[in-house]
């Protein structure tokens, strides 16, 4: 083997041996470091997976969604507003929709109710249901349920159930289909029904709806058409598909406060610990360096020795932390963070998160964890290496 490689290996051996001598302390540092990297990496992998899953799933959201605001709150649109869009050129289709929330008093859960007149006789869409079909035109009280709603309502095998109108009278509904559990990320809390049933449930006027889904013939025209719609319906809020996609680039990123604050704080604490550990340079350490230098070790050899020690710690901790985090997301769907993401929700859907890890995620993590650690140990390494050889005689 090449002499210089052998020399590096010898120094590395010696460094590992010294780490092993203080195995209790170094093992603690290693575990804490792995833990910090595990948390950091789990968070990064999870948010990256959710962001990219969202990008994949939401790429087809309607080009423009139109809502009506009044006094800063969202209020229903009427058929009259629909008529105003006749004059806007370039729209290929407009679908009114009711989008609302049903609060289940009995268990405190919120369900998302979507009322739509969309004709749903598509094999592709049917493949998303465990069994059954979508509400057909004219079929009264037909609902497709998300799997978490089905569980929460405790329906079991029963098809019929009832929900309350605002005046506490009951609406009789029956489920015609249930979404597969595998698409819970989209549909867990969903109740899909016809426009008329949704109006009935929320006691809305017969020509009212909450938003309009607009498709545009030419995608490059979307911003122009959006601003024309905003002109045509005073007080409207017009959201383009592009803006919806942009939300997800921002939502789960490090910029979103909480995660960054917690994780960076723990990382900072760890770097201080690392620095402190390096500075705790005892008489014995000093003597050891003096002896080594007297025996012919160069200043560079001593620096390399200390650097290899921290590099070995950092590399092992980084490798272990990343692997555990990956397994955590891959096999346990981010179990530790699930409750953070779910927050106070009563309805807690189970969903599969598929990690979508890119090289830049790993690089980012390396820059945020191993790099600060290595940087924090360089000054102590240098301090150790400048001990004079004759200090031991």
């Amino acid at each position: 083997m090449n002499k210089s490689i052998q020399q590096q290996l010898n120094i590395l051996d010696y460094g590992l041996h010294s780490l092993w001598q203080k195995k209790g302390r170094n093992f603690c540092v290693f575990l804490i470091f792995s833990g910090v990297i595990f948390l950091l990496a789990s968070f990064q992998f999870m948010s990256a997976s959710l962001t990219r899953t969202a990008e994949l799933l939401l790429v087809t959201v309607p080009d423009i969604t139109v809502q009506q605001l009044s006094a800063g709150r969202q209020v229903p649109l009427s058929a009259k507003s629909l008529g105003k869009l006749d004059t806007v050129f370039g729209i290929s289709s407009i679908r009114p929709r009711i989008w609302g929330y049903y609060f289940d008093e009995s268990n405190g859960a919120n369900y998302t109710v979507i009322g739509s007149s969309a004709p749903a006789t598509d094999d592709l869409l049917d493949s998303l249901l465990i069994a059954g079909s979508y509400p057909q035109a004219g079929e009264q009280g037909a609902v497709v349920l998300g799997s978490a709603v089905l569980d929460n309502l405790g329906l079991g095998d029963r098809k019929s159930f009832s929900l309350f109108r605002p005046d506490l009278t009951q609406v009789a509904l029956h489920r015609v289909g249930v979404f597969q559990q595998s698409i819970n990320l989209l549909t867990a809390d969903l109740m899909l029904m016809s426009l008329e049933d949704a109006r009935d449930l929320f006691a809305m006027g017969h020509d009212e709806f909450t938003d309009l889904l607009v498709q545009v013939a030419n995608p490059t025209e979307i911003p122009t058409i959006a601003s024309k719609i905003a002109d045509a319906i005073p007080g409207s809020r017009v959201v383009t598909a592009e803006q919806i996609r942009k939300t997800y680039e921002a939502v789960f990123s490090f910029r979103s406060g909480f995660g960054a604050a917690c994780l960076l704080a723990s990382l900072a604490a760890f770097v201080i610990l690392a620095f402190d550990k390096g500075l705790g340079f005892s008489r014995e350490d000093q003597q050891e360096v003096g002896i080594l230098k007297m025996l012919g070790w160069q200043t560079g050899d001593i620096m390399r020795l200390r650097f290899y020690e921290s590099l070995a710690t950092a590399a092992c901790a980084f490798g272990l932390g990343i692997s555990l985090a990956w397994a955590h997301i891959l096999f346990f769907d981010g179990g530790l963070f699930r409750s953070v993401f779910l927050g106070w929700s009563v309805l807690r859907p189970t969903f599969d998160i598929v990690p979508y890890i890119q090289g830049r995620d790993i690089l980012l993590l390396f820059a945020f964890s191993a790099l600060p650690y290595l940087a924090a140990t360089i000054i102590p390494a240098w301090r150790a290496s400048i001990v004079r050889a004759d200090s031991v005689v």
Binding site: M1, K3, S4, I5, Q6, Q7, N10, I11, D13, Y14, H17, S18, Q21, Q287, E288, I291, L292, K293, M294, L295, G296, W297, Q298, T299, G300, D301, A389, D390, V392, V393
Partner: protein, 235 residues
């Protein structure tokens, strides 16, 4: 006595610590000294007299502040630290006052320490260490931690470590200072055998057992950084 080739040759050597600063120390003054191959030379003097500084200078730990110093035929003045270190590990074997054996390492690991930065493979290190351990009777202890062996074995480990690079010059700093007389005698016997192998040996001591030892060729007295007696080979 025949004149031999000088292994160590110092002429007009001065050594300052913290040169040019307020706390400047003039540690060695006008040193003229020659040590021939195969000698055992003892440096004697009160503490603070500069004998350790002189030993370090001969051991290539640093060069002289002025004057000329040659060790093993190599001029030390103006030699950069890195070269000094490199030269030191080929030329000098050190035996320290408390032996300075690292207690957490095994006997064998301690002995091969000087070989690590030379890029010598573990196998070759073992091949070099084994005959030395055998010679000094510590082979059965090779896997023991240094903290687990006796004082006598410790000193043999220190000698073996000094010899691992097969250097022509052995330097020892107060090697008998903390040993009882039987241990001291044992150490001197070892040094005498090294001398017979052709090594040049310089040690510092004020132990009469060393200074009056029949095999010690010269005793050099040092006072206040000056050699007061015994500097040249022929004296």
């Amino acid at each position: 006595m025949t004149i031999k080739i000088p292994q160590i040759e110092l002429s007009e050597v001065h050594k300052f610590y913290n040169q040019g600063q307020d706390n400047e120390v003039h540690a060695l003054k006008e040193i003229n000294l020659q040590v021939a191959e195969g000698e055992i030379v003892c440096l004697r003097g009160p503490s603070g007299s500069g004998k350790t500084t002189l030993l370090c200078l001969m051991g290539c730990v640093f060069g002289p502040s002025s004057g000329r110093a040659a060790v093993g035929g190599q001029q030390l003045q103006r030699m950069p630290d890195e070269y000094l270190t490199r030269y030191r590990r080929e030329t000098i074997g050190f035996i320290f006052q408390h032996f300075n054996i690292l207690p957490e390492l095994s006997v064998e690991q301690n002995i091969v320490l000087p070989l690590l930065p030379l890029g010598i493979s573990p196998k070759e290190r073992q091949q070099r260490a084994e005959p030395l351990m055998e010679r000094f009777g510590i082979e059965h202890r090779k896997l023991f931690k240094a903290s687990q062996i006796s004082g006598g074995e410790l000193q043999r480990v220190a000698i073996a470590r000094a010899l691992i690079n097969n250097p022509p010059i052995i330097l020892a700093d107060e090697p008998t200072a903390h040993l009882d007389s039987s241990r001291s005698n044992e150490l001197m016997d070892h040094l005498v055998t090294l001398r017979r192998d052709g090594k040049t040996i310089v040690l510092t001591s004020h132990d009469p057992l060393v200074t009056e030892h029949p095999e010690v060729t010269r005793v050099i007295d040092i006072q206040d950084g000056r050699i007061s007696c015994g500097g040249s080979i022929c004296s």
